[in-house]
């Protein structure tokens, strides 16, 4: 049986999640490997979510936000962009190929683009093979401070 990558997608509520919705209502086909987690804004995405995803077994993480300048919350996507660039550096240090973390801008009207991004990213991760962590990521349960 061929390798089916597991991908977690963080989608912002206003653009990318709506774009994904559009792809769905337009009956566009894309691989089922990505499971989406809705956040209100790509600026909500804590780098911890990404590290946790990789540690729990995700082969790739996709982060989607509104196009620059189109953020529903003015500039959350720029904050996301900065965080993702740093997170890429960070996962490289953990021995994870930085291409496994991808940031894409998908607007609410870009159902076709969403389909394209998912298909392409899934194929890329499939060709990279399963993520092997090599024990670099500490096996400590990440808990939020206030719990």
């Amino acid at each position: 049986m061929s390798f089916e990558p597991r991908i977690i997608g963080f989608l912002c509520n206003w653009c990318s999640y709506t774009g994904a919705d559009l792809a769905g209502t337009a009956r566009m086909k894309y691989p089922p490997n990505m499971t989406s987690i809705r956040v209100m804004c790509s600026g909500r995405i804590d780098p911890g979510f990404i590290l946790s995803s990789f540690r729990k077994g995700a082969d790739g993480v996709l982060v989607c936000g509104c196009h620059p300048g189109d953020c529903h919350y003015v500039e959350g996507n720029y904050k996301c962009l900065r965080r993702m660039l740093l997170t890429r550096q960070l996962i490289k240090d953990f021995g994870i190929d930085p291409v496994r973390l991808r940031l894409e801008w998908v607007s609410a009207s870009e159902g076709a683009r969403f389909q394209e991004v998912i298909t392409e990213f899934t194929e890329q991760i499939r060709s990279l093979g399963p993520l092997k962590l090599g024990g670099l990521v500490p096996e400590v349960e990440r808990t939020a401070v206030h719990t």
Binding site: M40, G43, K56, C66, G69, A144, H146
Partner: protein
Amino acid sequence: MAQVHVNIDGHDIVMEEGAYVLEGARSLGIRIPTLCHYPYMTPYAACRICAVEARDGKGWTKIVTACNYPVWDGLEIHTGTPRVMNARRVNLEMLMSRSAPVPVLQQLADELGIEKPRWGTGDDTCILCGLCVRVCDEVVGAHALAFSDRGIFRKVATPFGGQSDDCILCGACAKVCPTGHIALDDINQRQVVHRDISLAPNSAISLPFRQAVPNVPRIEPEHCIHFNTGGCKVCSQVCPKDCIQYDDTEQIEEIEVGAVILATGFDSFDPSVMKQYGYGRYPNVVTAEQFEMMNNAAGPTGGRILLENGEEPRAIGIVHCVGSRDQNHHKYCSRVCCMYAFKFSHLVKEKTKAEVYQFYIDIRSYGKGYEEFYQRILDEDVNIIRGRGAEVVPASYRRTEEGQLLVRCEDTLIGKFREVPVDMVILCTALEARADAKEVARKFNISTGADGWFIEAHPKLGPVSTTTDGVYLAGACQSPKDIPDTVSQGGAAASHVLKLLCLGEILLDAAFAEIREENCSGCRICNGLCPYNAIDFIAEKKVSKVNAAMCKACGTCVAACPTGAIVGKHFTDEQIYAQIEGILT
């Protein structure tokens, strides 16, 4: 100014010193005929028809021209004495001896009892009144005209008799010319009938549109003579209420509102990019908008359907889907064209004897009463050809005399290529999003689709609201729509706004960020990150606090908080970690 006492035909009148006799006579209702007098211009006394007799009451008497004779104290004016009448008759007869018998002279001759001018009549339609020269100098300020030559050769001319570079084509000279010697079309060699079919105002001062609120005229500085030359100001002279303000400038007012309805409408597709239809090249290829203006009873042709040469068309072709349903331009259907094309057919059939040919891809007559209207059009013998209009070529292409233009298309119902001779082609141009729609969308923090239309909150459940609270959509800015749909959406948008305003308070979403004071280190990273300035730092407690009413729950502070003190309600860290865990195990 000193006041002087004047007596005109036995009536005493007090006038300003330096005023002219004619003004006084007119204010008393005494008619003095003139040919070269016009308000707002310096009197010139060229025609000398306004001759009156001036007396000082002591025996001195003189024939003077009323238009430029200044009054003085004790002046007596007689306007109807035999001497005055004789002077007027001689002056007019001399003028007639060189001038053609134009109506204005004939009328005056009848009035003065000249049956046959003693020295005959001439053939010059110009009576050398100088009104055109003065209007061009004093009112317009263009100085494009002047008298040239002398004596019997005297005439009004432009420099070297050609088209003057100083002439701004305002037509003021033609307007004041009493004999019709200067005609607008001589000055302006452009086409007459179709020239005015544009949405631009026809005059430099006009109402923006008939139903405008406030219903007051405005000046278009680009076309206004005053703004171009500093002259004219005729409008301020005729306005009885002194309403004309030349120094009025654009003002930007800030108005605080609780809600906004975007009803910015649509632009019309420019068909000149589709070269095959010849818009802009063939004058009788018009857009639907221009045809609509032509049909307007208050429009440039007075509601008549006319070709560019002023004739009635023998056949009209209506091309549907120009720019719509087209992979090269707009893929969508513009929704309203089929129905207005039928309306056009109906109007053409009603007003003219012309044949009508419709070139369509599909007839989309959905809606209440629409299909019935389509059937009615079919009964009115309109030719409906199923096939996109491929090309419009001049009739000379086939050397036919039947029409001025040929519409070429493939009739897909009979499977044949057809060339239909018509005199006029109406292009049903696509509705497209306003050119600045993206900019407006950004301003209101909403989004536009690929075609530029504003995106509603939800295509089925929120077709009026947007993703920004308090911003609603109405009309064609959201998608192409016809009038009933626009009115419905407008009503819905208004009721949404009223709901907000009547309630007087708004319900907040349960999702917002909250800072747990015990965990907050007071680092203030979140303060600067918040795009809504919803986070305040409380100095005495050394912690930050979220103002729930201002928080929009984007969560950027939650992700940034180094101590994890901020909880994004409904999107807490636990919830998201649980989702990750749930997905991967």
